[in-house]
């Protein structure tokens, strides 16, 4: 829909505050926008970003739900919903691993819906595979790895690592063809993913998990970090 001039100005201000990392002000502008036009989904998704980055994750989830109800064909909204749920679970110090795992399990249908609408979203595929690993569904993680194969190009290295991790934790032989992707000179990685993986392995370590398999997975992690030296350095600095 076409925005009027006042909304256009508010939207610019909200966006500008967001860019300047002033999320509280951005939230205020988005509130005004929603009051002006509650049927515009992008205002609800915009406020959810501002809320999420202020740590108001439960409110962020409500906003995304409103955005989804207004535009159910938008793939990104479902992905954002899952991401907000997972961030919420990870940032609750009192939440047990089992409770956190339950949130990850609930995030899977949102990730699947997002991918059914837009299967080209590489990061959504990685999130789905990660969710599968988190809830110990290693076979399903490998299954989704295969489904995503034709869409993954840019984050191939992290994808191969997640796949190898799932193989190891499932107690299966890792495929050399999958491991070979680690050594492709052009394979790029995402430092943020490394941080997430570190957390994932830490969580798995708190379970009564086969220590041999876990150690092998940790070796993979070290090997992966060392392989991409800069990534390793970045991770250590953080």
């Amino acid at each position: 829909m076409k925005r009027d001039d006042h909304q256009q100005e508010l939207f610019f201000l909200a966006d500008n505050s967001y860019e300047n990392k002033d999320y509280a002000t951005s939230e205020q502008y988005y509130h005004q926008l929603i009051e002006a036009d509650p049927s515009e989904y992008s205002y609800h998704s915009g406020i959810s970003f501002a809320l999420r980055l202020q740590g108001k994750l439960d409110e962020a989830v409500v906003s995304i739900d409103q955005a989804i109800s207004l535009n159910p064909q938008n793939a990104n909204l479902y992905w954002m919903r899952a991401a907000a749920m997972k961030s919420f679970a990870c940032q609750q110090p009192d939440m047990s691993i089992q409770e956190r795992r339950e949130v990850f399990r609930q995030s899977i249908p949102y990730e699947q819906t997002s991918l059914s609408l837009d299967p080209t979203n590489e990061e959504a595929w990685l999130d789905l595979i990660e969710s599968r690993i988190c809830i110990l569904g290693f076979h399903n993680a490998i299954g989704d790895l295969g489904r995503s194969n034709r869409y993954i190009q840019r984050l191939r290295l992290i994808w191969a690592f997640l796949g190898s991790l799932a193989f190891v934790l499932a107690g299966m032989e890792t495929d050399p063809e999958l491991e070979a992707i680690f050594f492709e000179p052009g394979a790029s990685f995402n430092a943020w993913c490394l941080i997430e993986l570190e957390r994932l392995l830490k969580d798995l370590g708190q379970e009564n998990f086969d220590p041999l398999r876990l150690q092998k997975a940790k070796n993979y992690m070290d090997h992966f970090i060392e392989h991409k030296t800069r990534g390793g350095l970045l991770l250590r600095l953080i």
Binding site: D118, P119, T120, H139, N140, I142, G143, D144, L145, G146, R147, S148, N149, R150, Y151, Q153, R154, R156, G163, F167, M172, D175, L178, F182, F183, E184, P185, G186, H223, E226, H227, T229
Partner: protein, 641 residues
Amino acid sequence: MKTLSIDFGSANSLAAYRDEKGTVTLIRHDGQSLSNSDTKHLPSFIAFHSDGSVKCIGQEAKSLAATHPKKVIWGFKRLLGLPYTYLQERGELERFTYDILPDWRDGQCRCLVGKNYTPVELVSMILQKLKKDAEEQIGVPFDSVALTSPAYFDSSRNSRLKEAARMAGFSHILILAEPVAAAIARNIAIDSSRQITLTCDIGAGTLDISLGVIYYSDEREVKYETLINTGNTSCGGIDIDYHISRFILKKLGMEETPSDFRGELLKLAEEAKMDLSREEKVCRTVQIGGIKKSIVITRQDLAHMCEELLFSFRSQLLAALDQANYLPGQIDTLILIGGPVILPMFRDLLADIFSGNTRVLQQLEAFYRENEQGMVNRMTATAIGGAMYHKYVSDRCPFGYGFEEIILRDEEIEYKPEILIPMNSVYPHPGGALLVRYSNGMGLYEFKLIKQIPLTGGASSEYKFVSILKFAVRNALFANIVCEMSMNENKELVVRIRNLSRSDETVEYIGADIDPCSEITVQYPIHAKRPKNIQDKSVEILPPEEATLIGFSEWVVNTLMLSVISSAKENKKPIDRVEPVMKEVLAESKRQPVRYQQLFNQAGCLLHNSYSLGMLHPETKYTLECDLNEWQDQLFTVTVK
């Protein structure tokens, strides 16, 4: 070119051949009689040795299924073309007695029997056996096949079926929907009017109901358009056998089947079921341990014990009609497929549902009358229909296919369709190629596959965005990318994307239009602001100075290779593998400077492989990697005109 028709089923498969005179012959297997009236089915069972090699296929394998459940594979048609996660989340994998794992390459299933086999490979084994038996019986080679596929198979699953047929040695493959094949075999008149067709396929393990429309299309081809597909995975012949076996046990006064009698009891139940399709009642003398008793089972008993199953069948059927907004009286054609449909309890149920529809009631009566005699019956109709189908085949593709082409201007970017396969092209079509005229600084390219669809009347057309194909190159500056598109003789769209600068950077999609991301209509041309990372080919790649090239070659030999060799005490595997290539590239790069790119890539591989095998200290590796990064900056430079 001889065409074999194959009805590949979950439990049984059948092949048929139609000669020049129009006579249809059913293919026999492993000692079956020549008479066309006897059964000619090949059980779709494969038995394996412990090492994973094939032991036998067909009846012999089926007889081993009860005693070797982990080594005899069947029912894999249900796995074909479906993602592992989809099957797992719906609990379908629990039905299988053998191990099933996910395949990391495509997310589908692999069956574990000593070795890993994909469902496509397993289907190809059955098809190969049918082909071999047909060639032995008819005495001519078959390179063409008409394969019937269930109405619920989508294009993705049909493509897997084609892949299996290709693997089995067929070079020309035609996929035909089972309702169409059955309609042809039963001489149901097909014309341009749209016939509402209800197909009930009660197989060994499942019930599938499909409501669709059959018509003879403008493209001179018989079309089947699905309106609703529904089914029940626990409503098949096996479930009926299970109910009969429970009935027998009850009559014997037993609660549980003794494990050594389980196979025999199921066999007895299956025989009783088949006899009850012909007779009002059957009498069997059963002996288990010390108990021996004569048991009588009537058709009424059967209907009573299958009450729940019949209720489920009725609900599914009515729900399918309801969802598609049809009443039983509006159905033009009823098609019944599968062994159990012959049981009178299904006839009575269908007669009740369609009581006001005289057309369907006549078809039902004819179906049960003809099943008692003649070659075309519920088990053979699809294979025979497939053999008779060729007269309807169209040799033209009604749609056009191409890519969305990008034209770069100073400030904006224009998107327009580039059709490489025009509408109404004759199969196979050589297609065309699109040379990418821009470079992407990220090394990642996306190609949008466009389908051109004729609008009613044929005067104009519209474009639909079907799928997105991604392609990544290692070195964005040295990439020359070409997209080729063609249509093969199996009516599959083949797309190949290649980097002309690197022979190993190639990707090929057969059936690229299947499994579409979307079918959104696109209005061309589209104008947008030009993204920063997309450059046109006016970017000039500057070759390195000769001194840089010599310096890099010397670094490779004197620093990198020496470091690796001195660190390698026993394990020289990566060097043994890379050294000859390196030397060859080094020698050639002096004569032909463009090969420094390959030398650079090889150096990277050597460094990472040596490190991964523990041959390099992390600090040494880090220093060498920093050096290599510096060389990269010096070797690969560009200028923008």
